[in-house]
Amino acid sequence: MSASAVSCHAAARPSVDALGTAYRTIAVVGPPNSGKTTLFNRLTRLRQKVGNFPGVTVEHHTGYVRDAQGQEIALIDLPGVYSLSPKSEDEKVAVDVLTGQMPGTPRPDAIILVLNSTNLHSHLVLAARVIALGTPTLVLLNMADELHKQGGHVDVLPLARQLGTPVALVSATTGEGLVAVQNFLNSAVARPEPLELPVVGSTRGYREWAVRVGENAKYRRPATPVWTERLDSVFLHHVWGPVIFALVVVGIFQMIFAVGQAPSNAIQRFLDIIGGRVGTYLPQGVVSSLIINGVLKGVGSVLVFLPQILLLFLVIGILEDSGYLSRAAVIADRTMSRVGLNGKSFIPLLSAYACAVPAIMATRTIESKRDRIATILIAPFMTCSARLPVYTMVIAAFLPNRPLLGPFLGTRAAAMLGLYVLGFLMAVLTARVLKSTILKSKDAPFILEMPPYRWPTISGLGLRLVDRGKAFVYRAGTVIMLVTLMLWAATNFPLHHGQPPEVQNSVVAKLGHTIEPVIRPLGFDWKIGVGLVTSIAAREVIIATLGTLHGLDPESQATDLQAALRHELTPAAAVALLVFFAFAMQCMSTIAVVRRETNGWQWPALQFGYMTVVAYIAAFAAYNIAGRFVR
């Protein structure tokens, strides 16, 4: 960018006038692993919201801070970028926002640039590009605590002089030096006047400039943290690495099921108590039925998963923030490359065991578009937590629990494990097929920065959980509530002499009987058919549906529903039902998120069609094969 262009941009920016008007919008920019998010969280705490820029899938947070006059300032947390060449979607978003070309987002009045002081040369390259924009900029050299502990050094003043911007050495983790941010918010800073910027074009030129600037600021790089070396020699060890990796993955599941069960049960009990109260206060009738059977039951059947989902996000958050997830990707890369994907797909696929929705959003880190779509397409085969209640209910109804491998593995746990393996195998098979046909591409290069190991911060993890928890509860309160209300209406109409009809005469039964011929070959009757239709909204809805259809009280014990299931399904049909749920894409939220992430309907349509066909064929096969062995 030429000097005249810089001053032209600066002149067009009205916010810094002679009176020193405070900033309204500030963009927070920084490379990945610079501690940008930690800093953003520290500055804004809970005063932030998640949003999407129009037309792109990149999610961003906006947070609010106040200056000394109490004026509110919006901080936009941009995606982590290494450069401003608009190649990846993340970088394009950053450039568009910084240059004021993002619709609906004003051009930021100022920029807070977060760099990692332990990796200054590399990160100054980004600084050169940001400063060239001509927007007032505060440069924060983050992780000062690590820099000093590892014997590093940098002089802030010569750096500020060379960059022509205020520079502060800070630590987002300890809060050290953050007063500089408050000073920056309170006083309008002029546009940067760097002594010298690198010649545009060659990255090497930028890097040489960065080294020169660093030398003038007496920059001394810190030693590699001893603990990172030690931990890597274990976590990336030829033998221990994979062993620990396997233990971590198994440990995650163990923890989620073991620890998550108690709070789940507590939520269930709490909802039952509310249901009971409502039942005693409200007169028997349409309204109380609507509240108990419609609202509480439907939403409640989803809310009970909240603890498990939060636990999974907590564990993944700890692994990610500590730096282990990057190592896990290295370990997984070899296996993933066998099915044509690379190690970066591992993280989204692991998250898909909690829920495909965040998993599909996590595929954004995969640069290769084809690999990303392949990962999105196979993610819903991973056994998500919504399948869990369906599996639990059916298995408990049909399989007596006997020890299989001594006290370690019972028959029920083994059946559950088998279903997990089944989903995983289908995902691998599908990936293979996709990568050798429609999504064929050269192996995407696996290039991943290995950040030093760090302690995850409580506030960082907490904010992430609040974020995810809100999104999940919102889903339960909207999509799933709507479906259960519709189902409730369909079972309670048409009215017969002012009374709800017998289930056999309701709208829902007509629907069920219409689709019955299609699902007969799988051993399902019309009630299961209705369950299959309503569970397109979300898998777990089938339980609430069957509960309603069997005319059960909301307070009924699960055993009653199990007895009803045994009456309705042959053991072979139960196997077919499990297999169907392992493969089918019964989830509106996933369909919606795939549409958003792939910018169109063709991929979600293909995915839904493919998964339904696979589920149908597999369930048909399972019904016929199982029919020969069990009766």
């Binding site: 190649k87 990255t203 090497r204 370990i331 070899r334 290039i447 991943l448």
Partner: protein, 98 residues
Amino acid sequence: MIFNFIFGRHKKEHRQADALADLRVGESAIVSALVLSPPVAEHLMNLGIVPGLKVTVARSGPGGGPRVYRVEGTEIAMRRDVSRHIHVELLGAPAFGD
């Protein structure tokens, strides 16, 4: 895979150290050129694999997976399919940096 994993690779390789992939763990060399598609090369350079800088093989991953390289304090994992296209010179001092 399991065989390789347990027994390691016993392929005899002639040493021709002009690619990063040919260096042994612990060895260092100066990057001379990145013979890769522009987006991949650009990404590597943003991470610090810049011609003129010294790169060290920090460690090898399990089972012949990606290796970890260190350049000026940044650690970067990459597979052989990338590192064999990064040309290096074994001798000499870095052109700049440290």
